[in-house]
Symmetry: C2
Subunit: 257 residues, 2 copies
């Protein structure tokens, strides 16, 4: 299915996780904030590129951009609307919330590198087990920007010890979607007490010989924005991404230097 | 010489090009604008990362940041101050122009990749000839952001045909300092009529067998800012950079994916 066709189905009301949709096309996290907060947020992203890889920023009030031919207010399957930093509603269309001062950020999503891991023969356990990747708030702080600050949030994938090097090599080639792991091994170093009690997503079963590997996670910017309690913020609902018209290879480095 | 020592000498009044100073440490272009323009400028940089590789952005009014231990108002050998987009003066200290709303951008500089080219055995003709690299305004427009827009400005280095591939490979490993060339060969494709009449810098003599190779240039953001005629802007004087405490290797990719 083409991205345009998928977006049309979501625009028509289909609500479904976009995982596995439109193989080979880049999916993006969405976060939309008032212009008054946009400077702090873009600066936060610039200072924390691993958790906040910005793929594009739309002009204030704009509903489309060069990465997709559509309408950012309707073309995702499901949105979350936050008022004063609290979840107000989950909806399939945010046109009634739209304002001319809203700035939309499209942020890289780990679906892209998970496909690359899979193609490299590295097992992706949470996909095998049919659950959402487990995510954890760590004891590491991001470098703040104005009112936007918060902890580094990481996702964890158990990787067979003999394939950890492959997992690093494969994901390092995708800096626009979080890049290489931030940590391999002992979760306590990140302030994570219990891997089976993630802060977001689901616990994942580790096979014998698996090592926990941690990547910077796109929940980081969302958590940081919410700490500033913006009057209004709009985000994709977890797993319900914007499917862009950009091929995943376009974000892959081909550097050998 | 350490970067701290070099900055102290510039602070004490030494005026000299920083080319060749503090081998192995990253030098940065400086551009400082009022906060009111900073959003457009940061967005412009985000949209045009090859000519505008942002290494760091200081908080509004801040004179130091994590990349260097000093004072951005005094620690460069020479500054240019622009009022309403016109050059007002060239000074060694901009403290008298300082305002609490000024935001400083540190932008990657090609000195870093020129050292890498030299170490890889690729000749850097303008250095051999003791002139400033020739730079050209091209017919390609950058993607604009609000009031900030302008043409892509490129630098040109003549490279022996059999070493063009090496030059691409080496510089591609430094995306934070403009990365791989944007164009190899025919200058007319970029709207450049006469290589011997650069818009900035000096003409450079091409040896027999040299091919003109073009890289995105850090003059691009400066030219784009000036087109918006900001009430105040402060930049390094050409060649008189901020020497940071960050090693050049820190900006080199080591990806093999």
């Amino acid at each position: 299915m083409t991205p345009a066709r998928a977006r049309a189905r979501f625009r028509d009301g289909l609500v479904i996780s976009t995982a596995g949709w439109c193989d080979g096309f880049t999916q993006a996290n969405l976060i939309t904030v008032p212009h008054a907060l946009a400077w702090d947020f873009l600066l936060f992203a610039q200072r924390n590129p691993q958790p906040c890889p910005v793929l594009d920023v739309l002009d204030a009030g704009a509903v489309a951009g060069p990465l997709f031919d559509g309408d950012v207010r309707t073309d995702l399957p499901l949105y979350r609307v936050y008022v004063d930093g609290e979840l107000a509603e989950e909806v399939t269309d945010v046109r009634r919330w739209w304002r001319a001062d809203l700035v939309s950020f499209l942020i890289g999503c780990s679906f892209t590198f998970e496909r690359a891991l899979h193609e490299a023969g590295v097992p992706v356990r949470h996909v095998e087990q049919g659950v959402t990747v487990p995510m954890y708030r760590t004891s590491r702080r991001c470098r703040g920007a104005g009112s936007v600050s918060g902890p580094l949030v990481v996702s964890m994938r158990p990787i067979p010890a003999e394939q950890v090097a492959d997992a690093v090599r494969v994901t390092a080639a995708y800096p626009a979607v979080h890049g290489a792991p931030v940590h391999v091994g002992d979760p306590r170093e990140l302030g994570i007490i219990d891997l089976d009690a993630p802060d977001y997503g689901n616990p994942v079963h580790r096979e014998p010989g698996d090592v926990p590997v941690f990547w910077a996670c796109g929940v980081t910017p969302q958590a940081a924005v919410m700490e500033s309690r913006p009057t209004l913020a709009i985000a994709h609902a977890p797993g319900h991404m914007l499917i862009t018209d950009v091929r995943e290879e376009d974000y892959q480095l081909r550097v050998t230097g």
